[in-house]
Symmetry: C2
Subunit: 141 residues, 2 copies
């Protein structure tokens, strides 16, 4: 049976509050900063559960960290500033269809896709390109 604990609620609340994507480590740090004594392992578990039940979605930053964000439950992709982490949700029906088709054309089933765009947002574009949390090169366009 699944039980409701204040820890899980805390993680869910912190996720809802967070702007853009956050790492499990970052979320744990945030929670601690607000006085919550929640354990790190618990944050990982709660995030994994939320992602599994569709209440959060996850992606990997180019450095390989897993990032999570509260999910509005409809499918979308993300435009992420590689300097400040600002995230914009983008809808892309065209891409959805394309992904499904291209998989089918090659005999693939159960297709999942990773479609995310990293760049510099209008605010960060002028500043020095200090490699922030979202730096290392993805597959080059």
């Amino acid at each position: 049976m699944k039980r409701n604990t204040w820890q899980r609620e805390a993680v869910r609340a912190a996720l809802d509050t967070a702007e853009g994507f956050v790492s499990a480590q970052g979320l744990h740090a945030t929670l601690h900063a607000t006085g919550s004594p929640i354990g790190l392992a618990t944050v990982y578990r709660a995030l994994a559960d939320l992602a599994a039940e569709g209440a959060a979605d996850s992606l990997q930053s180019p450095e390989g960290e897993s990032l999570y964000r509260a999910c509005t439950n409809d499918h979308h992709h993300h435009l992420i500033c590689r300097n400040c982490g600002l995230t914009v949700e983008i809808e892309a029906d065209a891409v959805e269809i394309w992904a499904k088709n291209v998989a089918a054309e090659h005999g693939f089933s159960q297709a999942a896709h990773v479609v995310d765009v990293f760049g510099l947002c209008a605010t960060c574009a002028p500043v020095a390109p200090s490699p922030g949390r979202f730096a290392r090169g993805a597959s080059r366009p």
Copy 2:
């Protein structure tokens, strides 16, 4: 000055030979298996160099491992079997344009994108879904 060493050639050759994407660890294991005494750190460095100079492209498996593949130097994306690692190169001009546009529309510059489709290939679809090297859920479609 950049120097040519047999180690770098070995990595390049092993990459060319490999089917689909391989991890640095895997490539190192393969090289050892064929008798090469190359060091693990060297494989990492060689792969990073190859990726930096555009001779290889890299992506992250859903588990967060960095995977590399010899690059044919024109830009494309990948359709990857999450069970056996079979990789199909796919071209997607439409997606290229879409990514560029969506970034521009939101004031983003220097856009890079991560567009890869994971699924089960025709061969693996029937077999039991044993979670192979490419298992954990990406952003759900």
